[in-house]
Amino acid sequence: MDLTAAARPPAAAPGPPGTLGALLERAAAARPDARAVRDRAGAWTYRRLDGHARAFAAWLAERGVRRGERVLARVGNRREFAAMLFGTARHGAVFVPVNPAMRPFHLTQVAADCDPALVVARADDPATLAALREATGRPVHELDAVWRRVEGLRPPPDTAAVPPRVSPDDLALLLYTSGSTAAPKAVMCPHSSVLFAARAIASRLRYRADDVVLAALPLSFDYGLYQILLAALAGAEVVLTEPDRHVGLHAVLREHGVTVVPVVPSLAEMLLRLAGRERSAAAPPPVRLFTNTGAALTAPLVAGLRRAFPGAAVAPMFGLTECKRITVLKPDGDLAKPGSVGTALPGTRVAILDEAGRPLPPGHTGQIAVRGPHVMRGYWRAPELTAARFRPDPATGEVTLHTGDFGHLDEDGHLYFHGRRDDLFKRRGVLTGALEIEAAALDIDGVTAAAVLPPGPDADLTLFAVTELTPGRVLGSLGERLEGSKVPAVCRVVPALPLTPNGKTDKQRLRRMLDTPQR
């Protein structure tokens, strides 16, 4: 696992490069009448999805959008999203999806940063479009109106401009990440890297043509978006849901025969709470596989999923938007390798580096670094930030992504994630990670969720816990599990942990809660 050893990835990299447009064309040719994508309003087959994607490309041409220009999409988990994703890629423009929940303040920054040719937005109410025009300063097209026109372009007239030639090196996506930096930053994702990552993940997870994949996570989040690509590779169906349907998620799973469910911890918790109210007479939904990344499932959640969905396997994974995915553990691999997030994707390498950037041997904790065709191009219009994280080898030019995440590898190349750089700290001289303390807190009977804030200038090590126990009991029980330096000074009991739209614990909001006095 020495990054410096081989300059090139193994030749057996899965699949040739290509473009997202070609991916959909192949799926439509192979399984034209299979269902591709479903939302609340209905389903499209691969043939229809392909037709809508071509028509959306024609619509972009009609609007004068040029190759390489950005198309900002605020549409949420609707099937039009899939057509826009493939259609924009087909046209050679760059698709920039944002969460409809994104606040105007943030959206203004994103629009200024990505400089889109136009915006397609769902209007939740009449005021939305005006606010979006104000916030972005760009032409804003209402989704339903766009789609009435797109329907008219389907199939596109022969006279429609020939789409610009699209190269695998072109950018397909700009994905804004919810990083800890104040300004929004977008990862530049070329067609070739996106497709390489999707194929490599597919080779591990093996979605089947008869799978029905749930995308309850936002499609603006790469974990949600890639479900569309993984399904297209397999010829499978994606069922898109939005948060207002989560309370009826079990009914959705049953009604559509969902077999694959990608989850973050909050979604898994919700599924378990809902499973608890299911009548014993009702057959459990036919889920065969849960995947997890973004934020790691806790051990009790994994055990709960296995209990509530007998026969379902769980596949932990690890990654970040900057290279999409680093490792995938084969389904149920956690039984043999508890706590591991798997081995590097085929055709890629992962290593653990010390502070000087030298590879560390197995068992040693350091920064997780990655090489391979899945490493994206860098941050959009942020050369300094790109240079800091995407570092070319002085000799070969091959880029090593420095993830800012910490962990270790075992002798078999299985990765174990310890935390973000921000989550690692020294207290009373002992190096500790927030994850370690959170795991110990979750081990206490009666603690259902936990988040740790490292010591800062204004506050000592603090634990936020969702529990019916008293703070004193929680800290006492932690003292039985951890050495003194790792036991938080304060425990705050909260009704729920604040989450980002992508389902990760919102530590910035926790930080702000520190400033408010406790009741």
């Binding site: 989560h246 309370v247 009826g248 009604e255 009548r279 009704p495």
Partner: protein, 101 residues
């Protein structure tokens, strides 16, 4: 700004709804037209409220009402709950499954 002085529902209902809202939104009396989503009722809290209402009132919400509309406002939720209580068997039988999907 709801000005109706009479409470349109039982105190227990109001307490259950307020109990799942974030602290900054827990203002009694509960406005029947309050936009619950805007008040901070996220999907996790919605699931929690569903489970607590079913336990407290001994009813089962059928799949057909498990949607955002049901949980849009306290008034909408109370309407659905009232309907479920009216149709629920007087003795709540755990074994019968009236909710075919």
């Amino acid at each position: 700004m709801h000005s109706d002085p009479s409470t349109p529902w039982e105190r227990q209902f109001e307490e259950l709804v307020l109990g799942v809202l974030p602290r900054h939104s827990r203002h009694a009396p509960l406005d029947p037209a309050l936009d619950l989503k805007a008040a901070g009722l996220d999907s996790m809290a919605t699931v929690e409220l569903l489970v607590r209402l079913e336990e407290a009132y001994g009813v089962d919400f059928p799949d057909s009402v498990l949607s955002g509309e049901t949980f849009a406002t306290p008034a909408a939720l109370w309407r659905v709950l009232t309907t479920q209580r009216a149709t629920a068997a007087p003795v709540s039988g755990e074994e019968e499954a009236p909710c075919a999907s």
